[in-house]
């Protein structure tokens, strides 16, 4: 049980380092899309929500799970769509006529 916990903790710490490495390379121009995009990724908690909402445990768990699914889905769908809307606007200076 303890080993299991520590293994998960190892993964957590290593993933933090990966995060630091990848995200320090994001330029300030993209900081808002980074926030909304990474926010959508934090909606990964949807996995937990789906499992608990679908499991035949008891009514309270399932209802809490239902609300959690809705919340996480708002986070996921809203986050990725709004990020796409923003990124769609970022354009380079038109040097050669493209359109």
């Amino acid at each position: 049980m303890l080993v299991e916990l520590v293994t998960l903790f190892v993964i957590f710490v290593l993933a933090m380092f990966v995060g630091f490495e990848v995200i320090t390379k994001v330029p300030p121009t993209l900081h808002t899309p980074l926030m909304s995009g990474s926010n959508a990724i934090s909606g990964i908690t949807i996995i937990g929500a789906l499992i608990i909402a679908g499991a035949k445990d008891n009514r309270i768990s399932s209802l809490l799970g239902l609300v959690a699914v809705a919340f996480a889905m708002i986070n996921v769908v809203g986050g990725f769509l709004v990020t796409d809307r923003m990124l769609h606007m970022f354009k380079r200076k038109p040097e050669e006529p493209t359109k």
Partner: protein, 463 residues
């Protein structure tokens, strides 16, 4: 076998998130990066539905339909000026979902009557704490940004003491729950206190410090997801949550550095809560400033070689981004070089100005960070400050008595001439009078930024 397959699917999803985030390092690849991350989320969701036996489809379906619709509508209808609120709100839902999952797990163990294993107990409580703080804190931030509640710092006597006691009680409860994991009233109190803690810790933070708060809440929402990963023993959640946690921490750090303040000072300093007391208020009448007409300003801009525009929150408030772009286009057509100087904490969230200007089709290669643009000011003919204040106050460089001292600023005053577009002489968020306004080479252009730009466009047309 099923479990191994689901673990592999979550690994694939995590790899797609990392790759997607990596593609955010350039605006050219960012859009596809976002879709790769979204696809990763799809992989994770489908894998969960396939590999975990589902009995109660109706709960999943109802939740998913409501959430997708609400999220979709929000994302499609939100205005670009409303983006800080949107990000705050989405953060809140993410944190809320994590807290709810932890709560549901608590009930599951309770109902099964088998007692809660120690490691899950700790994870459940931490998940509830971080998730609930994220949820209520984000909602307060949303309210502040929307101006449903005052954007200024809200303070009351003994605020720090109250918050410290609250935090201690919360930690005490967690320790208690580790010892007695199935104590329902204690669990409910923990949930309530966590929500209260979120509210009370965001309330004393003022509007211009919002970039830090949003970044921090962003980080929390990731940490909450990772904690939930410990609860349900799922590496996918842990990796993804850690990525988001790291991202939020980096942004928080960048924002704090850009204000030359520690995180503790931002969170507990109640900066900007008393304007009148710090600001020399009436003293403005004694110092003299020049104001100029739109005609003069237009002439100055039209015959310049290089113009640098420094936008701030005022640009977002008056939604003048399209007019700014129109004027810049006209100036460029006359041979003027136009650049934009973006301070890291301009606006209400990291990158706020960049998004607004992108909406107005300003090419991102015309936007310069503080470090890139500052050496350019000495050979800039006119710098134009649009609704920015504290981030261009030269007092930050030399006045040791100023609360802004040490904060890196845009050196707009080093341009040959500075035009400050502002509605009045009122001090900025820090409550400090801006000495830039009284410099001999500065002129004030009073009025709403949008109206002023419209007038400038008309004037330039006639030249």
């Amino acid at each position: 076998m099923m479990e191994a397959l689901s673990k592999l699917a979550y690994l694939l999803a995590a790899v797609m998130f990392i790759y997607g985030l990596k593609r955010l390092s350039s605006p050219a690849t960012a859009r596809s990066g976002n879709w790769i991350a979204a696809l990763g989320m799809g992989v994770a969701i489908v894998a969960t539905l396939i590999f975990h036996p589902q009995y109660e489809w109706q709960y999943i379906a109802i939740g998913a339909v409501i959430g997708s619709l609400a999220g979709g509508i929000l994302a499609k209808t939100v205005k670009m000026t409303g983006m800080p609120e949107m990000v705050a709100l989405l953060n809140g839902f993410g944190g809320g979902a994590s807290a709810l999952v932890a709560g549901a797990e608590f009930w599951k163990y309770l109902n099964a009557g088998e007692g809660i294993p120690l490691n899950f107990g700790v994870a459940i409580q931490l998940s509830v704490l971080v998730g609930a703080v994220t949820f209520s804190g984000s909602l307060v931030a949303f309210g502040k940004l929307r101006e449903l509640i005052t954007g200024r710092a809200v303070t009351y006597p003994m605020q720090k003491t109250v918050n410290a006691i609250l935090l201690l009680v919360t930690v005490g409860l967690i320790v208690y729950l580790v010892a007695v994991p199935d104590h329902v009233p204690a669990f409910l109190v923990l949930m309530g206190l966590s929500l209260l803690l979120g509210v009370l810790s965001v309330i004393p933070i003022g509007g211009a410090d919002m970039p830090v708060v949003i970044s921090l809440l962003n980080s929390y929402s990731g940490i909450a997801a990772a904690m939930t990963g410990f609860v349900i023993n799922n590496e996918g959640l842990i990796i993804s949550g850690a990525l988001v946690g790291a991202s939020g921490l980096i942004l928080t750090n960048i924002m704090c550095k850009a204000m030359n303040r520690s995180l503790a000072n931002v969170l507990f300093g109640a900066f900007g809560s008393h304007v009148q007391e710090i600001g020399p208020g009436g003293a403005t009448g004694e110092k003299s400033y020049r104001s100029l007409t739109h005609q003069d300003a237009a002439t100055m801009l039209a015959y310049a070689r290089q113009v640098v525009i420094a936008p701030g929150y005022g640009l977002a408030v008056s939604q003048a981004q399209h007019e700014v772009r129109e004027l810049a286009d006209m100036l460029e057509a006359r041979g003027v070089t136009v650049k934009y100087a973006i301070h890291p904490v301009a606006g209400r969230m990291p990158g706020h100005m960049n998004v607004l200007l992108a909406e107005a089709d300003v090419p991102y290669d015309e936007l310069y960070d503080m470090d890139q643009i500052n050496p350019e000011f000495p050979h800039t003919d006119v710098s134009v400050v649009v609704g920015a204040n504290d981030v261009v106050n030269p007092a930050a460089r030399h006045d040791k008595s100023s609360p802004l001292y040490g904060m890196p600023i845009l050196d707009v005053d080093k341009a040959h001439h500075t035009i400050v577009m502002k509605r009045s002489m009122r001090p900025g968020f820090a409550g400090v009078d801006n000495e830039l306004f009284y410099l001999p080479n500065s002129s004030m252009l009073f009025g709403d930024a949008k109206d002023s730009f419209k007038k400038l466009i008309e004037e330039v047309k006639q030249l």
